[in-house]
C-alpha cells in the first residue's frame, strides 16, 4: 500500500464534513473543477467571503433565485474577481475596525478560471497582490475558456486543440506554451504561492489551509480537469489530474516567502507525457515528433522546478 492510499484510508476523518457548496449545481458530469471548489470550501470553513469571476463555476452555482453557496459569495464581472475581493477585504477591515460588524476574522477569497486569471483578469490580480490585501486568490485552471465553448486561453497547453486554436491540416492546435502563472505570482513576492490539484485532495486542502493562515495575499493555482473540454471520459477526471502530476506536465509545489518546495506527491521519476495525452481528445492529433517536442519542454521545466526546490528550499529543511 503506497502513501496516497494510506492517506486515503483516513480521508473522511481528515476532511471537514460540512458541505459549504451544495449539490444541485449545474456543473457537467465529472467536473473536477467543481470538486475543487467543493473541497476548497471545506478547507476554508464558514468564516469566508468569496468573490468569483464570471465563468463555469459562477453560472453553475448561482442560477437565480437559487444558489449552491453556503458561504457569502459575490459575482460582479469577468476580469475583476481580484479587485472585488480586495474591496471586500478593505470593506470588512474598516467595518471591523469601526465595530460595525462582528469582531471575527473573515478570510476573503477571489476565484476565477484560467481566462479570468491569466488573460482578462491578470491586471486586477496583479494589482490586488501588489497592494498586499489579506486575501487568497485561487485560479481554477481548466486550460481553456470552457464556459464559452472551449476557446484557447494563455493557459491552454502547447498542442491542445481548442475551438479557436483547432488542430487542422496545417496546424497542431495551440502553438504557444502555457503561461507560467504561478511564477508570475512568485515574482509579486507574495508570502505564499502553491500549485494544487483536487486529484490530491489532502495536499490541496492543506495548501488552502496554509493560504488561509497567511496574513496577506496568497495564490493557489489549481489544476482542474475538464472532461467536456479535454474530450475525455468523465470517470477519468481524477486520474487525469494525477497523470498530469505524474508526467510532470503540472508539477505540485509551493513557494513560501520565496522558498520552493515540491509536494511529497511529486514522483521521483516522471512518466512519459504520452500516458497523459492518450486519453484526451484534445491531444489525439499530435504526431510523435510534436509529442517529443513537448516532452522535451516538460523535462526542462521539471528540471527547473526541481532545481529551484533544491537551491531555494524552505529554510527549516
Amino acid at each position: 500500500m503506497n502513501l496516497v492510499e494510506n492517506f486515503d484510508l483516513y480521508a473522511p476523518r481528515l476532511i471537514n464534513k460540512k458541505e459549504l457548496f451544495s449539490a444541485g449545481h449545474r456543473a457537467c458530469s465529472g467536473c473536477a473543477e467543481v470538486l475543487a471548489v467543493r473541497l476548497m470550501c471545506k478547507a476554508l470553513g464558514e468564516n469566508t467571503v468569496i468573490a468569483s469571476a464570471t465563468g463555469c463555476m459562477e453560472i453553475v452555482s448561482s442560477m437565480f433565485p437559487t444558489t449552491a453557496w453556503e458561504v457569502p459569495w459575490i459575482h460582479v464581472a469577468f476580469e475583476n474577481a481580484a479587485a472585488v475581493a480586495s474591496g471586500v477585504e478593505a470593506g470588512l477591515k474598516a467595518l471591523r475596525r469601526k465595530g460595525k460588524v462582528d469582531d471575527r476574522y473573515v478570510k476573503v477569497v477571489g476565484m476565477a478560471g484560467d481566462g479570468g486569471t491569466m488573460d482578462i483578469g491578470i491586471q486586477a490580480l496583479s494589482g490586488a497582490m501588489e497592494r498586499g490585501h489579506d486575501m487568497i486568490y485561487v485560479c481554477f485552471d481548466n486550460e481553456a475558456y470552457m464556459n464559452t465553448g472551449i476557446q484557447r486561453s494563455s493557459g491552454t497547453p502547447m498542442g491542445a486543440s481548442t475551438t479557436t486554436a483547432p488542430a487542422g491540416k496545417v496546424s497542431m492546435g495551440q502553438k504557444t506554451w502555457k503561461k507560467n502563472m504561478p511564477e508570475i505570482m512568485v515574482a509579486h513576492n507574495v508570502p505564499y504561492v502553491a500549485t494544487a490539484c483536487p486529484s490530491y485532495p489532502l495536499d490541496f486542502i492543506r495548501k488552502i489551509e496554509k493560504a488561509k493562515s497567511v496574513k496577506g495575499p496568497s495564490y493557489i493555482h489549481c489544476f482542474s480537469v475538464c472532461p467536456t473540454g479535454w474530450r475525455c471520459p468523465s470517470h477519468l477526471a481524477i486520474s487525469m489530474g494525477r497523470l498530469a502530476v505524474e508526467t510532470g506536465v503540472f508539477p505540485l509545489f509551493e513557494v513560501e516567502n520565496g522558498h520552493y518546495r515540491l509536494s511529497p506527491d511529486m514522483p521521483k521519476k516522471l512518466r512519459p507525457i504520452r500516458d497523459y495525452f492518450k486519453a484526451q481528445g484534445r491531444f489525439r492529433h499530435l504526431t510523435d515528433e510534436e509529442i517529443s517536442m513537448i516532452q522535451e519542454r516538460v523535462n526542462t521545466e521539471h528540471k527547473k522546478i526541481t532545481e529551484k526546490a533544491k537551491y531555494l528550499k524552505t529554510g527549516n529543511e
Binding site: E46, N47, T48, V49, A51, E58, I59, S62, M63, F64, P65, T66, T67, W69, E70, V71, P72, W73, I74, H75, V76, A77, E79, N80, A83, V84, A85, S86, G87, V88, E89, A90, G91, L92, K93, A94, L95, R97, K98, K100, V101, D102, R104, V106, Q123, A124, S126, G127, A128, E130, R131
Partner: protein, 391 residues
C-alpha cells in the same frame, strides 16, 4: 452653522465626503479628478478620516473594489472622469442592479479621441442608461452639498441605488470658490449610518450577483427601472430636508428669470452661471429671455421640465456632447421626448458647445439667443448645430 471657506472645489468635495464618514474609497489618478483622491488620501493619512483608501491599478478595479466594499456594508466612494469613467462603464449597470448605494464624483472631461483633458459632458452621457442617479453641480457649493446629499439619497431604504455627482472638470473642479462647509455635527445629524439591505458576512451568508436567464432578466430590469423612477420622491424629500437645515434649496429643475420669458435656454452643469449673465444682458435690452437649469439627469424630471417650459415660445437646448449621427445632443433628445408627451410644443433649437474645454463667454450665449430670435418663421427649429466651429 458651518464655516465659509475658500477651497478648491475638489478639495471641498473630498472634505464633504470625509464628513460623511465613509468606510472605504477606491482611487485611481485621472485629470481632472485626481485632487479628490489625493485629498481623501491626505485625510486618511492624517487620521482625520477613518477609512480604507485602496489605491487600485485602474478605474475598472476602482469600481470593482468599491462594489466589493459596498457589498460588505461599507459606505464606499470613488471619483473619476472621462476615460476612467468609460473604463468603469461595464460595472456601472452591475452596481445599480445589485442596488449598491455607491457614491461617485465625476470631474466631467471630454472623451478621447483625440485625447483632451478638458471639460465637456461626453463622459457621462454614454452612462445615461446604466441605472445611476445622476446629478449635476453648477458651482462649488452645489458640488459639496450634492456630495453629502448623494449618500442620503443612495442609502435610503426605498432607493438603494448608486449616485454620481457631475462636476465640470477644471471649469468647476479646479476653481477656488467660497464654500459653506457643514460641520461634522450637522452632517451626522443629516446623514444616518448606512443600513444595508444585505451584506457579505458569514453571520448571514448571502449570494450576490447571481446568474439570471430569460425567465428573470426582464423582471430584474423592470424592478431597477421602477426603483430609479421612484427615487425622485426621495431625492425631493432629501432636498427639502437639506433646505430646512442649511437654507440652501435644491430642485430638479431650476429657473432663472423664466416666469414671463418667451425664449428659454436650458443648460446643465457649470455653464448655468455664465448663461445667467447673458440672460441679464438680454433682459436689459428688453428681450424676454430666461434660463432653465437641469440638475437631475436621472431619474429624468419629466413633469418639472414640462412645467418649467410651459410658457416658452422658443427653447434653446444646450448640449456639451453629441450623439453622433443621432438627433443632436443627448439633452436635446430628452427634452424633445419630454415635450412630445405634453400639449405645449415650443420651437426647439439645439446648440452643441463647449466641447473639449472650448471657452464659452457670455457673448456666445447671447449669440445663440440672437440666432434663434432671427429665425422668425422657425425654419431652423428641430435642428442642431455645433456652436462656434470654424467653417
Amino acid at each position: 452653522m458651518g464655516k465659509r471657506v475658500g477651497l478648491e472645489v475638489t478639495v471641498a468635495v473630498a472634505e464633504a465626503v470625509a464628513l460623511c464618514r465613509i468606510d472605504m474609497a477606491g482611487g485611481y489618478p485621472i485629470t481632472p479628478q485626481s485632487h479628490i483622491a489625493e485629498h481623501l488620501s491626505n485625510l486618511v493619512a492624517d487620521g482625520v478620516l477613518d477609512a480604507e483608501f485602496v489605491t487600485v491599478e485602474s478605474e475598472h478595479s476602482a469600481m470593482s473594489a468599491v462594489i466589493g466594499a459596498s457589498a460588505t456594508g461599507a459606505r464606499s466612494y470613488t471619483a473619476t472622469a472621462s476615460q476612467g469613467l468609460l473604463l468603469m462603464n461595464e460595472l456601472l449597470p452591475i452596481a445599480s442592479a445589485m442596488r449598491l448605494p455607491i457614491c461617485m464624483a465625476i470631474a466631467n472631461r471630454a472623451v478621447s479621441g483625440p485625447l483632451n483633458i478638458l471639460n465637456d459632458h461626453s463622459d457621462i452621457m454614454p452612462q445615461r442608461d446604466t441605472g445611476w442617479i445622476t446629478l449635476f453641480a453648477e458651482n462649488g457649493q452645489e458640488a459639496v452639498d450634492l456630495s453629502i446629499q448623494a449618500f442620503k439619497i443612495a442609502e435610503h431604504k426605498d432607493v438603494m441605488l448608486p449616485v454620481c455627482v457631475n462636476i465640470d472638470g477644471f471649469q468647476l473642479t479646479h476653481m477656488v470658490e467660497p464654500v459653506e462647509m457643514p460641520t461634522q455635527e450637522e452632517v451626522d445629524k443629516f446623514l444616518p449610518p448606512f443600513a444595508p439591505h444585505a451584506t457579505l458576512h458569514p453571520a448571514k451568508p448571502v449570494t450576490m450577483g447571481a446568474f439570471a436567464m430569460s425567465d428573470y432578466f426582464a423582471e430584474i430590469m423592470k424592478a431597477k427601472d421602477e426603483a430609479i423612477k421612484n427615487s425622485k420622491k426621495v431625492i425631493l424629500e432629501v432636498w427639502d430636508e437639506w433646505g430646512k437645515m442649511f437654507g440652501r434649496n435644491y430642485k430638479a429643475v431650476e429657473s432663472y428669470r423664466a416666469q414671463d420669458a418667451e425664449i428659454l435656454m436650458l443648460t446643465m452643469g457649470s455653464m448655468g452661471e455664465t448663461a445667467q449673465v447673458a440672460i441679464d444682458e438680454l433682459r436689459d435690452k428688453g428681450i424676454k429671455a430666461g434660463l432653465v437649469k437641469l440638475r437631475l439627469w436621472r431619474p429624468f424630471p419629466f413633469e418639472e421640465i414640462r412645467a418649467a417650459l410651459k410658457n416658452a415660445k422658443k427653447l434653446i437646448v444646450t448640449d456639451r456632447a453629441c450623439s453622433f449621427g443621432g438627433p443632436g445632443g443627448p439633452v436635446f433628445s430628452e427634452i424633445k421626448s419630454a415635450l412630445y408627451a405634453g400639449d405645449h410644443h415650443p420651437a426647439i433649437y439645439n446648440f452643441i458647445y463647449g466641447l473639449g474645454g472650448r471657452d464659452v463667454p457670455v457673448q456666445d450665449f447671447t449669440g445663440m439667443f440672437e440666432k434663434v430670435i432671427a429665425d422668425t418663421d422657425n425654419k431652423a427649429k428641430d435642428t442642431y448645430e455645433f456652436w462656434g466651429v470654424r467653417e
